[in-house]
């Protein structure tokens, strides 16, 4: 051993440190390279946290007096809504909004409000809205659109202007019926806002023991108004039971189902109850495509209107009922429908009012009413609705065909 070191000691002194450098240095430089990834991950997390912090600070400005904002977890709320534009006939027609984030906002001394970031569904999914809700008033103090996939043009989503957003300012939660007025041309988007607002209230109630007021209105019967004295002014009539005392009343409704007048009972309905009646009526499956204009009992002439393809003009049908009040004696149609425009030149039959006349004639003759190829989109439903309404009226007079 001694001889070995005497001969090879210096060689070992050269090789061993080189090996040590190779191994130690290799480990060290590998560690350094690994740290590059670690630092990159740390930086990514830091940037995310910073972005989150900036985001929260930005949201905090929705409460001018706020000094602190803190992320919070929310209670679970199971609530689904019909996707705007869908019929609600299938499970796929429903969706559940998602609370993506929530923050508790405080001033120097106390918690003053909460912020919810909620993903709703407008015309398309991904409508993300921010709601600022104040504890003191249980009301929305501000709303922001964070993201959306709506059709972002002046004709659609951008129609939601200042007036639309203004309705959310100080929108109170402690009301029985929460309504967001829709904007024509952006109705699905508007509905997306409304759903998000309703969900925000549900979430707020679950998180902060807030009780959502309820409206006690029960519809016993909602139907077309077939009373010739009033049906021109009030197309619908509803028999309701309302209030904690379960009062009964019969009310007339306008063509848009809004409350119009009392038919019987005391006029002590609150606005929310009236809104609830409208809500119930709109779900009753009644058609608004046709309605009565007048009825002359002496001549047994009833004038009706139907809303077909041409929105500017209704289809007017005048029926003269026979003396037995059981059938149509004669009828006339005044129509400005434009089948060619409506059906993109697919319609090849005779001119207006061929479709209307044919359908009414078939009804009068007791025949089944044919679908008319190329005219089934607008005109046909309008006339079917009108025939159905007339038939009900005729039945109410004592007959019917």
């Amino acid at each position: 051993m001694k001889a070995f070191f005497a001969n090879k000691g210096s060689l070992a002194l050269l090789i061993v440190p080189l090996l040590v450098i190779f191994i130690f240095g290799g480990v060290y430089s590998r560690y350094m390279t690994a740290q590059v990834e670690v630092h990159a991950e740390e930086e990514r997390i830091r940037q995310e946290e910073e972005a989150e912090r900036q985001f929260a600070l930005e949201l905090m400005t929705m409460f001018p007096e706020a000094t602190e904002i803190e992320k919070r977890t929310v209670a679970s709320v199971e609530k689904s809504y019909i996707i705007p534009g869908k019929a609600g006939a299938n499970p796929e027609d429903f969706f559940s909004p998602i609370v993506k984030k929530s923050y508790l906002v405080s001033d120097a001394s106390t918690d003053i409000g909460v912020i919810y970031v909620i993903e709703s569904h407008g015309n398309k999914s991904g409508l993300v809205l921010v709601f600022a809700i104040e504890f003191a008033t249980n009301s929305i103090t501000g709303i922001q659109v964070l993201e959306h996939n709506e059709t972002d043009t002046a004709a659609y989503f951008r129609k939601l202007g200042t007036e639309f957003y203004a309705q959310f300012d100080d929108l109170a939660f402690d009301v029985p019926v929460l309504v967001v007025d829709a904007v024509a041309g952006a109705t699905y988007s508007s509905r997306g806002f409304e759903i998000a607002t309703l969900y925000a209230r549900e979430q707020y109630a679950a998180d902060f023991d807030f009780v959502i007021p309820v409206v006690l209105v029960e519809a016993n019967d909602i139907d077309y108004n077939l009373d010739p004295d009033t049906f021109a002014d009030y197309p619908f009539v509803a028999d309701i039971t309302y209030g904690t005392e379960a009062k009964n009343a019969v009310v007339y409704l306008a063509l848009d189902f809004s409350f119009a007048a009392m038919a019987s009972g005391t006029d002590d309905l609150s606005d929310f109850e009236k809104l609830e009646i409208k809500n119930l009526a709109s779900q009753a499956g009644l058609s608004t495509l046709s309605y009565f204009s007048s009825y002359d009992a002496e001549t047994r002439t009833v004038v009706m209107q139907a809303k077909g393809y041409v929105t500017r003009y209704t289809i007017q049908v005048t029926f003269v009922i026979n003396e037995d009040l059981t059938a149509i004696e004669s009828y006339s149609v005044l129509s400005r429908e434009t089948y060619d425009s409506e059906y993109n030149e697919l319609y090849t039959g005779p001119g207006v009012p061929y479709v209307e006349s044919k359908m009414i004639t078939q009804y009068r003759n007791g025949e089944s009413i044919d679908t008319i190829a190329g005219a089934s989109a607008k005109t046909e439903p309008a006339i079917l609705s009108l025939i159905d309404l007339f038939d009900r009226f005729l039945g109410s007079l004592g007959g019917g065909e």
Binding site: S10, L11, L18, I21, Y28, M32, T33, V36
Partner: protein, 396 residues
């Protein structure tokens, strides 16, 4: 006219006087490396640690890496001596030979030329190329043609640059966080964009003061211009190097870069300043263009060497495929050291004669042609980029 010792014989070699020998020169050289080593450690280790971006183990890495470079060279040369000199295999004999071989220096300089995240096995490969291939195979200290550290650096650069980039590259943990750096060195930006534009080349890194201080991305030792200047002053005072060589070299790069900037439509003094403060110009000028073995020994030769070196640096940097240019030009000029030395020695000893003017004229013509070509090519490339930029601005 040649200078001769005056006075009466016998004469004593200055190098043999106490405090004047090669050992002293090399000691002074090592001292001159200290500012750059310390700055490299501070910039890539201490400061980054103080920024809170790395752990303490990472803080020591730049310093350890540089030391490992020097140690690797020392050990490899030791092994070389052990293998080739069977008479001196004892520890004492090896130490003596290593001492006179200045074996630490190639590895130290090599480490300073490499990026921070160079794997140690790459450093060992570079040290092998430097100490064994470039130095020992040529006969050891005093016999090598190429600057050992430079050859090691180029060998690594040409073969393993991808490995270095994959391991983390040149930017330290603080620099990677700076969005404006975009992961690139200043010369990398120039090579990628081919645009002579202050906003593109300098603004992302702050201003030119940062270039002078060295707080810009780059290899471990090359960015610390101020530290290099301190070393230059030390070397000049201690007469370790000929003070004029770095100035002529840097001056040439400065002047030619300025001309290129002018041709490209930007006559600002910032561009030549940027040019000399980026990459390895300063480091090469002070530590390698003055290296006593691989550069000319006579004063005229040093001037010629520095002028050609400057012209070649500009040619390679602005026209070549790689962003740097200093290393390549130095290695090329290393090959011409002997002819330059001979030629200029003849001219110097011949004095002001026709032959001197002919040889001098030949050198001037050669240099002029090289400069003209470099300027022509560079101005074509960079003028084109200006036109392209204007076109794009017009379109957009």
């Amino acid at each position: 006219m040649a200078r001769f010792a005056g006075g009466k014989a016998p004469y004593l070699r200055i190098a043999d006087q106490p405090g004047q020998g090669t050992n002293v020169v090399m000691r002074d050289f090592l001292i001159g490396l200290l500012p750059v080593v310390l700055f490299a450690w501070y910039k890539n280790g201490i400061q980054v640690y103080l920024d809170g971006n790395i752990a303490i183990m990472e803080m020591f890495y730049p310093f350890v890496f540089i030391l490992l470079g020097g140690l690797s060279s020392l050990l490899m040369e030791g092994l070389s001596f052990y293998i080739t000199d069977k008479e001196n295999r004892s520890l004492k004999g090896l130490m003596k030979r290593l001492h006179t071989s200045f074996s630490l220096i190639p590895g130290l300089i090599l480490a300073l030329l490499l990026p921070l995240y160079t794997p140690v096995w790459v450093l060992l490969f570079g040290a092998f190329m430097a100490s064994i291939v470039a130095k020992m195979l040529f006969g050891g200290f005093g016999h090598n043609i190429f600057n050992p550290a430079l050859l090691g650096y180029l060998a690594v650069g040409f073969t393993l640059s991808g490995v270095i980039a994959a391991a983390g590259g040149a930017l330290n943990a603080s620099e990677v966080l700076v969005d404006t750096y975009a992961g690139a060195t200043p010369l990398g930006i120039l090579a990628a964009t081919k645009q002579i534009d202050y906003q593109t080349l300098v603004a992302p890194y702050g201003n030119l003061w940062n270039f002078l201080l060295g707080t810009i991305p780059g290899a471990l030792g090359e960015t610390g211009a101020l530290a290099i200047i301190i070393a230059y002053i030390w070397f000049s005072v201690r007469k370790v190097i000929k003070w004029s060589t770095p100035l002529i070299y840097i001056g040439t790069v400065f002047a030619l870069s300025w001309l290129i900037g002018i041709f490209a439509g930007d006559a600002g003094i910032w561009f030549p300043t940027y040019s000399i403060l980026s990459g390895g110009v300063m480091f090469g000028a002070v530590y390698m263009a003055t290296e006593p073995v691989t550069t000319p020994k006579n004063p005229w030769g040093k001037v010629v060497f520095a002028l050609f070196l400057g012209a070649l640096t500009v040619l390679f940097r602005f026209i070549g495929n790689f962003p740097e240019g200093v290393g390549t030009s130095l290695i090329v000029m290393n090959m011409f050291t002997m002819p330059i030395d001979n030629l200029t020695a003849q001219m110097r000893s011949a004095g002001l004669r026709k032959a001197t003017f002919v040889k001098g004229g030949l050198l001037v013509v050669l240099l002029g042609a090289l400069i003209a070509y470099a300027l022509f090519k560079a101005s074509t490339i960079y003028s084109l980029s200006i036109i392209t930029r204007i076109f794009l601005q017009g379109v957009m």
